[in-house]
Subunit: 212 residues, 2 copies
């Protein structure tokens, strides 16, 4: 038993883990085992341990619950309404993570299991205030798209410019002009050419990789 002269809230991190599935942005949800919200879908998350800081807690949740380490793991907000958890007071420190589609286990127990990817266009009702958390995660994710290299975290180490553009469009929700997109990416210096090509029933596509 831990005792304090004043009330202390519990502190947890919740992580919205995004990836691309079939060209659409998807988020990982787990099915809750216990009360409250038993059986409901929720974001993976867990309580802060004594010897770790919040970033480490989020990273641990990511690897424990999803078996992944992310290219991007970023704090975007706190959720602290007094009654958001009916058991006791819980402060939720929210992160979003982006993981490469080639590290995602294809159907990771998707049939009747505990963890599943959901396209963001068709989310179920979520436990607690997690629906709001996901919405806020999307806003934070989109707001930093243009000026950053976070998109690369959604792709394998080598990727075509077309797949990068697909990733951009899946996240931003808007179509982009092919020539302008390529100009911007090449000009920004965040990627460099490799010598390899991806083959298919069409002209081979040059593979690029993260610069530096």
């Amino acid at each position: 038993m831990y005792r304090y002269p004043y009330p202390h809230p519990a502190v947890a991190t919740d992580v919205a883990i995004f990836t691309l599935r079939d060209g659409a942005l998807a988020v990982l949800l787990i099915r809750r085992k216990g009360e409250p919200f038993e059986g409901a879908w929720a974001l993976p998350g867990g309580f802060l341990k004594e010897d770790e800081d919040l970033d480490a807690c989020a990273a641990r949740e990511l690897s424990e619950e999803a078996g992944l380490s992310a290219g991007v793991l970023q704090h975007f907000g706190n959720f602290s309404a007094p009654e958001r958890d009916p058991r006791e007071r819980v402060i939720s420190v929210a992160y979003f993570a982006l993981v490469s589609s080639d590290r995602v286990t294809p159907e990771a127990g998707s049939d009747a299991a505990e963890a599943r990817w959901f396209a963001i266009s068709s989310l179920p009702a979520l436990a607690f205030d997690h629906t709001e958390i996901v919405q806020r995660a999307l806003v934070a994710l989109r707001s930093g798209l243009l000026t950053s290299d976070i998109l690369l975290a959604l792709l394998p180490a080598r990727f075509t410019l077309s797949s990068l553009q697909e990733a951009f469009e899946a996240v931003s929700g808007e179509a982009a002009d092919k020539r302008n997109f390529r100009k911007r990416i090449i000009g920004s210096g965040i990627v460099r050419e490799s010598d390899e090509f991806e083959r298919g029933s069409h002209r081979p596509a040059r593979l690029y990789e993260r610069a530096v």
Copy 2:
């Protein structure tokens, strides 16, 4: 005594309250009364109460410790290193606030007292990790300058474009071109003309006010 089966950290908000003094950006610091860091300068802050959320806690700290209500009060980060407070584990949720220079009590007990404004160019050593918190507050504040109306919170309800430009330069640390600055502000629609003028030993300056 409050008891929990697992360890719970204390949760507090710390608020970097900025204003303009003599044309320079200044932050409010209080002198600590008790251990640890007794007598050292620190950001105002306090523990989260049971019935308030984090935003309300920060707003309460702002009004309790500074006697002010701010035009802007914005979360910008969490500080959670396990040993950042030697007494017990404390998670600090950090906010910055901007208050109008005309609401600032001119020398608010500044002589030998507990609270004082410090120009950000000459901060003393601070308690805990508060030096880092102030630095991060400045980065967050500056990053949102151009596309927002937060600067208006530093000024009285009516202000001249020159004083707005001074505020911009004090926060950003860089000089701006007068004509371009005015074009941008007028074009953005965040201010509108009033019919009044400020008089001095020069041509009268039109007063503006927040639009909408």
